[in-house]
Every structure is written in C-alpha cells, then in structure tokens.
Symmetry: C2
Amino acid sequence: MPGELAKDCVVIGDPTEASQIYNKGFYGYPMSGGGLQLEFLEALFLVEASRLEVLSGEKPVPLHKLMAMAASDNRDFEIKYIVYRDLRQRGYVVKTAGEDFDFRVFPRGGSPTTTQTKNWVAARSERALFDMSSFVEDIDRAERTRKELLLAVVDEEGDLTYYSADRAEPKGRLEDPGSGEEVEARLLEDRVLVFDEAGAQRLYGSGYYGKQLGKVLQLSLIEAAYLMEEGRLRVSTLATSRNVPLPRFKKRALKFQPDFELRLSAYRDLRSRGMVVKTGFKYGTHFRVYEDDPDKIHARFLVHCIPEDHTTTWPEMSRAVRLAHGVKKEILFAWVRPQGTEYLRLARVRP
Amino acid sequence: MPGELAKDCVVIGDPTEASQIYNKGFYGYPMSGGGLQLEFLEALFLVEASRLEVLSGEKPVPLHKLMAMAASDNRDFEIKYIVYRDLRQRGYVVKTAGEDFDFRVFPRGGSPTTTQTKNWVAARSERALFDMSSFVEDIDRAERTRKELLLAVVDEEGDLTYYSADRAEPKGRLEDPGSGEEVEARLLEDRVLVFDEAGAQRLYGSGYYGKQLGKVLQLSLIEAAYLMEEGRLRVSTLATSRNVPLPRFKKRALKFQPDFELRLSAYRDLRSRGMVVKTGFKYGTHFRVYEDDPDKIHARFLVHCIPEDHTTTWPEMSRAVRLAHGVKKEILFAWVRPQGTEYLRLARVRP
C-alpha cells in the first residue's frame, strides 16, 4: 500500500486504504476527507511489516532515508522506535503520548476508541543517566492519572528490559518495647561488642539487634549508633575503657563508611516502620529487611539507600533489581531526603 | 583447665593438660619441657568453648580483657578471630600462616603432623579496599605453593562469605572465517545500523555480530569498532552519509561510554579466544560470553572489565559474584593491562 512522504509524516490519501490501516491496529490519525496521517514511527513499522511503501513523488523512499528523516526531528528516535516496535510486536496498540511520556499502551485487545490507556511508557537508553528526582516525578505523574508506569530500557544491542515503577510504604510487625536501662558496650575498631550477657539478651530480645558471636553480642556500627541515639547503649573503647559519646562515635563510623549518615537515616526510618534491618552485604546492597523475627522468616526486602540529589546509571539500577530478583526479594530504593525517607519500587516485568 | 597469661601468649604448663589440648584439635605450639604455648586467638576460642580459663597470677582474666590484649598487638584482630572461630567450628584444624596469608587450613580429618595444608586463608573485612594487583599476587602466591586460596570476607555484622579465587583461561569454539569485503554501515546516535542485507548476513553468519532488528542489523559501538579495526566494516553517518574513520568513531563512542577503550580491549581479547561476546547489561555487568553459537547455547561467563590500577570495594565484588551465581554463570574479572588481558575467577564456596 502506498503512502506519500510529507514534511513530518506519511500520508495515505486513499480513504479505503486509510481506514484499512487504521482499523487494523489503530495506526495513524484520521484526517478530515478520509485520509490518514502516519507518524514516522508508525510508517517505519508498517514498511518493515511490508504493509506500506513510502513514496516521494513517484519514487520509493529507501528504509535508511526514511529512518534518517525520522531521526532528524526526534531526539533518541532509535531508542523510541525499538520500544515502539517491540510493544507492537507483542500485540499492543501503542500511541505516542504527548509531552510527559513517550507512549501510551492500551490493554490487550483494547484501542483508543474503546478503552482507557493502561500504561504510560518511558523509553530509555541504558546509557542515559538515571536521575532520581525526575524518576520520582514520572512515578507521581503516572499515579496521578492512575496509570501504571512502564520503563522500557534499551541496551546497547537493542535488547529491551521492562520495569514497572511505583512508590512503596513498607511496614513490619515488630513492636520494639525498648531494652530498659542503657547497655554497656565496647568499641573494637569497627565493631561494637556487648560482653554483658543480660544486656545482650535485652537488646536481641527487644528488636533483634546484633548477632551472637560466641559469648559476645556483636553490633554493627549502624545498630550501635541507632541504639545510642535511643539512649539504649553506652559505648566505651575496649582497649582503654574510655567513654565514646555519640558525636565521636559517628565521626569514627564515617571513616569506615563515608555514607554512614545516609544509611543511618534509612535504618532509623525502617526501624520506625516496625521492621528488622540487617546488612545487605551478601546481596551487594545496603540492607536486607525483615517484617518480623529474622530467625523465623526470610527477609522480604532488599533496600538500597540513595541520597537526595543522586544521579546514577541504568546498569547500576538494573543490577540491583536483577540481584533482588535472583534471591526472590523485592528491591526498594530508599530515597533519603531532609523531609523524610521515601521508598520507590522497581520490578522487572514482561508486558 | 587453667592457662597462664604471658606477654603475647597463654601458657599451659602442665604437660598432661598441654598434650590433651594439643592432641584434640592441634591448638598451640608444644614447648620443650612439655608445656604448650597458645596464641591469643587459640586461647580465646578455647575460653569461649569453656575448655580453658586464663589466669594472671591467681586471678582469672575476663573475656573482654583477654580480647583487648589480643587486639592490641594484632591489626584487624577481630576480623581474623571471626574467621578463625568459624573455620574451627566447621571442624577444621586451623593454624596461623606466617606473613603471606592469615591462616592455613588442613583438609578435613587432617592435621599439621600428618597432612599438608589444603587452603591458604586470607581474612578480609568487607570494608577493606579491594586492590586488584595485591589480589592477583595472593592468587599467584597460592598457586606457586599449589594450595587453594580461600578468601573469608566478614561483613559488618560478623557474617562470613567464603570465596575461592584463581586464574582462568577461557576458550571458545568459534572459528570466525572473516566476512569478506568491507560491509557498509550507518551511524545513528549511539547505534550502528547495517541496511545492506547481504552484508548483514555475512557479519552475523561469520561471528554472530550484531542483532537483527526488523530489517536492519544493529551493531553495538564495541562490535562496530572491533569490526572496523579488523577492516570488515565501513561506517558513515545516517543523516549526511559522511564517512566516519575509526579514530573519530572511537572519540564519539567515548562520549557515550567513558570506559570504551577498556571494554574494547577485553572484547578483542575474548574474541581472539574464539568466544562470542555480547553485552551483559541485563546482568549489570560488562559482557556475557558464549563459547559458541549464542542462538544454540547459554552464555557460560559474565565478564567484568577492570583497569590496570583498579581499586574497588568488597561489596562491589560480592555483588558481581552473587549476580553471576543467581543466573548460573561464572563470573570472570578481566584485568586489562598493557601487557595483555588476564582473567580472574571468584566463586562463592562453602568450606
């Protein structure tokens, strides 16, 4: 079927042919008079499917010319086209989506004339920077319109990975009754040790703080700082028994973990939500988080802390999601801001 | 059983008691005269197991005092002790190992008097920097003595992860016969497209270069640069058909991937080993590598490229190993040096 190349679209003039293309897949935008305007994306897809031949005057326009024209007035055209083609090949009706997102997708079997948009789609190159605040803006914009946000990330070979993204409000079931009077602990390099067995029992019993190593309860720096803030722990050095007040303790911890304050903020928030928080080192992430007694249940979440103004890369995000997926846990990104910690969930999906 | 605190050890004077401790677990070092010298590590472990009480004069030395003394003359004592205890609790005979490593471990059922060392053990804190060249030195030193190297990494909560580490020489079965005369390709942003169907077929058929997307073969920047180096590809811009020589192409690629040269070196080396190399984006790593036709077999390796003077962190290494493990692939670290690319393998093990 022939279409005529126009300035920024391809026009199918014949009304019968136009309605044939429109009705089978909802390509293009019907014109008054019965013709159809196709976006370059749509025209390219139809050319590749051998349903359309684009002419300029009487002469056929070769594929690479058409692609060059399409690319010239559309930033990241190639990325968008890869996503468009993939979703179309999966049988979805896909339309471009104005300014906020790249595409909107209709539910399977649906169409612009009969159904509401199901997903907003943002097409991204794996090489694009991942900017946390604009990511959250996208999520919120999608949630305001009650559509799901689908991120389609294109790798350097044109392979696609889809992610759903939304906000999360994780909640646990732990009620930490406190541990009575301050427990004495000793600082040894980057570890805090509780030699007092009754105190150790009170700490572990109330909120699963620390880990029993032989006869000693060992607290991580984060746990110790949190318990000191709560007035539940007093720390002195192991070597000289000299008291270590909280500010000095934090300063020391910063030497071992430059992101100590970031982690501590997220730790505090997760604890306030009734969850038990342990290191996520084995999973290459900041925390693993339990909704209750870690001796009885598996950790449900892996939590990765992200500072307010964080910019990262897609491969880093991809890695965190993939890791969590591999161990059957949900990944949450804890976005630590002065006004509070927010949680974003990213999950691999197959559309 | 009592032991007497000495300057840098604990002494069991009674010959019967000494030989009892030595014979059941090979703790300590027999002294002329029948006594036994215990290292602090050993003494602490025996105290925790209630097999030893340490006295100073007539007075018992409390655990935290003993630990403080042990820590005062031994850097990273706490880390070493956690590893020592864990290996002992697993039933191994463990002895300190001189200067090069922390411990040597005997095979199960073995002992210093009857068997050779099985593993050298290096105890590391997850907070310690990971320095590639000293890591490789450790591997080579272990290989020279024909022992396996075991890395015991202690996380902030005292949990242990063991890794075996060695060199690898990956080899594939692909024989790339070349693809005849130069194939024409077009550059569009960060993608290279081959519109010429016969040329695309020659490239994919000879070495599985690129990926068919619709009617177009798409090459990654790395693939295109490699093929240009081999005189198999000529690239011009899609928009203006202007020729893009290799140096200009590389300069452009560097803008998208600052580590482009690093990746390209490893890519070239892996290709020269008869393997098919594709992006590892989905796995959060640089490459996934096939020993043969990627349409018929799964990728065996994930390869992460590391520059000559690279210093990283243990959590980053842990993450890469964990990821590969989750998708049942081997992780190789490609250490790209001017004298050639070397491969190091790190695998989680349970001792």
